[in-house]
């Protein structure tokens, strides 16, 4: 409760704190990323806490600088300061305090990232194939209980580098646009046909590079219905800036009919 209130206050005041640093009318109309999956929500929290800690330390640095600027300014030529070579207890303090904060941040980060490392066994699977300059999407589902299903190696599957995922094709393949259901875990297996690209959905706050010969993966559970841009994030050639796709998160029922419609399209 405390944390969420704190976060809300931070989000409200942040642009003003920032404006103190750079006076600019260039604020984007929509300043914040709105988390649209459970995972991106936890990233958002860690982001704002890190920013808050940074602001505190930055204020400390600038505050000390402002103080010494006024308090210890020489008034005439030839003045000398005090010959102090150091202060061991003080130095220990500013070594240990940041260390503690960094350890705490690391633990939190590992905790958040652990979720991403352990995908559920049964999910909807979207295979993303990047190429110069676009994305193809094909639909599968996975379950450990599939008998004789197509088995796919995920080279660097999270938590188990050489494991296999048992998947079954849903017979749907799209190009440039794809849809996923709200509230259902979705796993993306990403690869590339030519050079390295990256599959990035900014609204989900996560990306994975698509590497030829590798099948990397990431997963998430979308929580908010909407249409989100997909972008390539790794320089991949002259068409890099136009390498886009769109993703639509739709309610479960709508997704089923969308999938069915595409299946009949494919079978025809």
């Amino acid at each position: 409760m405390m944390v969420t209130t704190l976060l809300r206050i931070l989000r409200r005041t942040f642009p003003w704190l920032l404006a103190a640093l750079v006076v600019t009318p260039a604020w984007p109309s929509d300043f914040l990323v709105h988390p649209v999956s459970a995972y991106s929500g936890s990233i958002d929290a860690i982001l704002w806490v890190t920013i808050a800690i940074s602001i505190v330390f930055f204020a400390l640095v600038v505050g000390i600088m402002a103080f010494v600027f006024f308090r210890f300014r020489a008034k005439k030529a030839g003045e000398e300061g005090v010959r102090i070579h150091g202060n061991v207890p003080l130095e220990i303090v500013w070594t240990v305090v940041p260390a503690i904060i960094l350890v705490a941040l690391s633990i939190w980060a590992v905790d958040v990232f652990n979720v991403e490392l352990n995908p559920p066994e049964s999910t909807l699977i979207v295979k993303v194939t990047a190429y110069q300059f676009g994305f193809d999407f094909s639909y599968y589902e996975s379950s450990p209980n599939f008998q004789g299903a197509q088995t796919v190696t995920v080279h660097n599957i999270c938590g188990n580098p050489a494991a296999f995922v048992k998947i079954r094709s849903l017979g749907v393949k799209t190009h440039g646009h794809f849809e996923i259901p709200q509230g259902v875990p979705v796993r993306f297996l990403v690869t590339s046909k030519d050079v390295i690209h990256s599959f990035w959905v900014p609204a989900f706050m996560i990306k994975r590079d698509t590497v030829p010969g590798l099948s990397s993966d990431m997963w998430l559970t979308p929580t908010t219905v909407g249409t989100y841009p997909v972008k390539c994030a790794v320089l991949c050639g002259p068409g890099h800036d136009g390498m886009r796709a769109t993703l639509k998160v739709v309610p479960k029922a709508e997704f089923s009919s969308w999938l069915a419609a595409h299946k009949t399209l494919a079978s025809r």
Partner: protein, 550 residues
């Protein structure tokens, strides 16, 4: 000490003809001071070339759907801007300052290997010319990182190969320079100057030297492998034939991360020289300052994969790299606090070097915080490969290295030329640069956070306002550098001598005549005290305080 004294015998006094400029005196020189000056002049030329490239890019990006340059050209600009600013501006500029200052600071007559030093210089100039030729032969378009397989398939056949040749040449130059730095510092220090009596700029040079020696081979190997794959079909990085594209990234970043410390380490040294002189106080926690540089340099070889969290490497391996990266923040924080503490109870003189050091502390701190944010894996997966990274690295590289270079330049200019740069023009240079750079680099953070990838020639209309601001800030920053050039010219024309030691500094480079004689010192100095012997002893000052209050 007798052995090192013999090594340091003056050996080029005869070649110096006093009075009258002869270009052969510069072309065939082995004098560390002239070599330093040539490095700096060439570096400044490339600073403006690299800046011009950024200018074209920011013009293209000033509005969402401009088509000033084609996409291939844009990618070429991206690649060459990065290459030039890193390899042909910051590195040689630091090299120039170190070449000029370091042998003087340790009280010796030249580098340990003066001819090798000249060779390094001219290989560097050659590499610069080779890289410059890509503007006519076709620019490489795979970015300064040149990731395989994109760099293997680069359509600009000749340009990419020429670029690889140029970087290999610069690599050789850097390795020999690094060796020269290390041997000079280890063997040629003035009698009495133990390691922990060296100025911190010398410490930073020693650490940079080691980084150059250990890191540069990795990029030499990586680019050589790209070259063999391009022409001889050796499929190191071709997945279809059993190669591994991610191997390139491991090699590149094993060089790439120490490289950023190669760029920032001398900056730490410069700031550590400037702050004590203008605070009239010894550096706070000298040993911690030296050890923190060693620690940062050591750690820099253990963090390379933090550039690759999204690459597809085993995610479990990313965790140790995150933790090591976090650890880097600790010695860096120690340096920040020690600089601040150095000013505490000092008597601060806001001469130009100090003004730039102040600017450095603010902007480098900002770059440091965004660095910690990028180290946190879950955040990195959103922020990496976006404008956030562009913002972060420009705060560190421009707000860190380049502001420190300016501080060093204003600081040592009187030693190099005998003239002080104009104070008023220097202040204009500082403020316009600072405002321009913050306008240009700060909005990049939220652009990246909101979803603008880096290295794009066009972008969503929703990012238009911020991008316009970035472009305007960039142009302001670029124009500010003309003030610096004007300051050079005016100062050199005015010819107002400022004396041997205008800042009243105690380190050795100021103890000899200006301009520095070819053999540096008539008598090699004897070192008895530490490098920052400023201020009045604490007991004395407290009795004075008591007297005043009592």
């Amino acid at each position: 000490m007798s052995e090192t004294a013999a090594l340091a015998q003056p050996h080029h006094d005869q070649e110096e003809h006093r009075g009258g400029f002869r270009w052969t005196n510069w072309l065939f020189t082995t004098d560390h001071k002239k070599i330093g000056v040539i490095y700096m002049l060439v570096a400044f030329f490339f600073f403006f070339v690299g800046g011009a490239l950024a200018g074209v890019m920011r013009a293209q990006l000033a509005a969402p759907d401009l088509h000033l340059v084609g996409n291939t050209t844009f990618n070429g600009l991206v690649s060459m801007h990065g290459t030039i600013m890193i390899f042909l501006w910051v590195m040689p500029m630091m090299s120039g300052l170190i070449n000029f200052v370091m042998p003087l600071q340790i009280g010796t007559r030249d580098m340990a290997f003066p001819r090798l030093n000249a060779l390094s210089l001219w290989i560097f100039v050659g590499g610069g010319i080779v890289l410059f030729s890509t503007f006519f032969l076709g620019m490489p378009t795979a970015g300064w990182t040149s990731y395989a397989p994109l760099s293997v398939n680069d359509p600009h056949e000749v340009g990419m190969d020429v670029w690889i040749l140029g970087i290999e040449m610069l690599g050789i130059s850097s390795i020999t320079t690094g060796l020269n730095f290390v041997v000079t510092i280890m063997r040629l220090r003035a009698p009495g100057m133990s390691l922990f009596k060296m100025p911190l700029f010398v410490w930073s040079t020693l650490v940079t030297g080691w980084l150059l020696i250990l890191a540069m081979p990795a990029i030499a190997v990586a680019l050589f492998a790209v070259f063999t794959e391009r022409h001889f079909g050796v499929d190191f990085f071709n997945a279809a034939r059993g190669g591994d594209p991610i191997l390139y990234q491991h090699l590149f970043w094993f060089f790439g991360h120490p490289e950023v410390y190669i760029l920032i380490m001398p900056a730490f040294g410069i700031i550590s020289e400037v702050i004590p002189v203008f605070s009239r106080k010894p550096i706070f926690g000298y040993k911690a300052m030296a050890w923190s540089m060693i620690a940062i340099a050591f750690l820099s070889f253990l963090v390379w994969a933090h550039h690759m969290f999204t690459s597809g490497m085993d995610p479990r391996l990313t965790l140790p790299f995150m933790i090591m990266t976090m650890v880097v923040a600790i010695p860096t924080g120690v340096k920040m606090f020690n600089w601040l503490a150095t000013m505490w109870k000092g008597k601060l003189y806001f001469e130009l070097p100090m003004v730039f050091a102040f600017g450095f502390l603010v902007t480098f701190a900002l770059g440091g915080f965004t660095g910690v944010m990028l180290a946190i894996i879950p955040l990195d997966l959103q922020l990496t490969e976006t404008y956030f990274v562009v913002g972060h690295m420009h705060y560190v590289m421009f707000g860190g290295s380049v502001l420190a270079i300016f501080a060093g330049l204003y600081f040592w200019f009187p030693k190099i030329t005998g003239y002080k740069l104009d104070h008023k023009l220097g202040l204009w240079h500082f403020w316009i640069t600072l405002i321009g750079m913050n306008l240009a680099f700060f909005p990049m953070h939220w652009l990246g956070l909101l979803g603008m990838p880096r290295r794009v020639a066009n972008y969503d209309p929703s990012f238009a306002a911020s991008n316009l601001w970035v472009s305007v800030g960039g142009f302001i920053m670029g124009l500010a550098q003309l003030i610096l050039v004007a300051n050079f010219i005016i100062t050199m024309l005015k010819k107002q001598r400022c004396g041997t030691n205008p800042w009243n500094s105690v380190s050795l480079e100021w103890s000899t005549a200006t301009p520095v004689p070819p053999h540096n010192f008539d008598v090699l100095p004897q070192v008895t005290e530490g490098p920052y012997h400023y201020g009045i002893p604490e007991e004395e000052s407290s009795t004075k305080e008591q007297a005043r209050h009592g």
